[in-house]
Symmetry: C2
Subunit: 295 residues, 2 copies
């Protein structure tokens, strides 16, 4: 395969960045817009938007719906980082190499900025004009709400909170990560698929792909927390061990964790093969990037 | 008019309470469900759900959509109280006569519970079955997102934060309250209206009614903060003055504030008269209750 992920991503990242900058407005009152923009713009790998776009393109989805879904999942991701970094949660002062939102704008503004970003994510999915059919708008809202809420990201964070200093077995750890990071990553893929008229097999295959990539992402995150330094990560390294948090590395060791990540990559590829979709090169390359990244 | 608001409300409150108890599930992981239920159930006047239902019935709205919208606005209201009460915001320990969520469950769980309640509000608006047409689902998501986000409630809270200890004039104060509490109250009415096929005049009249009721609610809140005691309010009285927050009472005095509330009640009634709707007795009575309540 001579697929060039960097070239494929470049234009799409520009589109997403421009759309985010247009939709997350500085005019929101009393500094709230500044805090929201600080939390969202010029940062991050934009993995979730790229997953939405790759899946959306694979099913020939409505381009406006795909772009809105791509930005909406990123807003949810950004808000979760803002709240996660707050003193009552992870109490982190560094994110993407910059002071975290509450350090820069104060805790109260950070709390509000996160809340407003979550609302804005749903606002993006339901435009007033008829550029996106109402049925697709509604489906995207449902998928995002489930991925972000108590059955998804927020639920996973609650398990994470409750697990500090406690021994989790592999099944419990996997369940936590399926919710905490997996749900929104898988949701990104499934939302992209919902922007078009995919077959049952295609939806099923993409959903399985998203689940495997979502879990692989967390396994690799745990590996990098041990093997990379803060400068490379753009966030505090070694945090999990310092907080005595259960991770794949603490549970199965570094080598078995690496092997597990490769196994999940193989699962992701199989799921794409089973989907019957023709244009899956971007999805394949994104899965490879998730597993083989160094930050 | 011999309309009995108490009788009208009774069955509807039971329906809302039952639906909230069914939709806010205790099974959410690691205590998150308990915190969410504690924040939502057995408390509050349920003014917003009643406004949704009264408006929804006035336009002959889809009953399932009306019930879902009624519960969704209450979840947004509940989450905003949880986050508002946190130490980095109002730092309040008493709400509806009980310890606030962060006092009972810890700050991290309170933060997550608020986040999960916001997501759940949107999830309720977009059911997977076809009980509510996709176009109505999408419209409700859009209206709720706008009412809750940076152009609505969250934006108003940001202005509120920035205004502590600062002199606001009447226009600035009104702008803050239109966003902070007015947007979700007006949004409740407008969402109820969006559940049916109302005429332009009806939608316009209901929207104006919602704006007047929303503002009146805050004026009366400011009055009660001065005139009522904590036991009657179920929350800490005299808080605004203690925090040197601008209020209608501090700006225009008690008597002019009371006159203004009555003026807004008259505006709400005129808007209903202009709506051309026939069944507005419940809406009229709710506006009266907002202005003449003692807690």
């Amino acid at each position: 395969m001579s697929f060039n992920l960097r070239a494929w991503s470049a234009g799409r990242l520009d589109t997403v960045e421009l759309a985010l900058s247009r939709w997350v407005v500085a005019e929101a009152p009393a500094g709230l817009g500044d805090a929201m923009r600080y939390a969202v713009l010029d940062g991050g790998k934009r993995l979730r938007p790229l997953l939405v776009m790759a899946a959306g393109e694979a099913v020939g989805g409505n381009p406006e719906a795909v772009l809105r879904a791509a930005c909406a999942v990123e807003l949810i991701h950004a808000y979760s980082l803002v709240h996660d970094d707050m003193p009552c949660m992870d109490n982190d002062i560094l994110r993407r190499g910059k002071p975290t939102v509450h350090v820069k704008f104060g805790q109260a503004q950070a709390l509000l900025a996160g809340d407003a970003l979550q609302a804005l994510a749903f606002e993006l999915l339901a435009p007033e004009d008829d550029s996106v059919p109402g049925a697709i708008q509604a489906t995207l809202c449902r998928l995002l709400a489930r991925a972000a809420g108590h059955e998804g990201m927020a639920g996973g964070q609650a398990i994470d909170l409750a697990s500090i200093g406690r021994a989790l077995d592999e099944n419990e750890l996997r369940h936590m990560h399926r919710l905490k990071t997996g749900a929104l990553l898988q949701g990104s893929v499934v939302m992209g698929a919902a922007c078009g008229a995919a077959s049952g097999a295609a939806r099923h295959g993409l959903s399985d792909y998203g689940a495997a990539v979502g879990l692989a992402f967390q396994v690799v995150d745990d590996i990098l927390d041990v093997t990379a330094d803060s400068a490379t990560l753009g966030k505090t390294a070694g945090k999990d061990a310092a907080q005595d948090k259960p991770t794949y590395v603490s549970l199965m060791g570094l080598e078995r964790s690496r092997a597990y990540a490769q196994e999940l990559l193989a699962q992701a590829r199989s799921a794409l093969a089973a989907s019957g979709l023709e244009e899956t090169l971007a999805l394949q390359a994104l899965a490879g990037m998730v597993v083989n990244r160094d930050n």
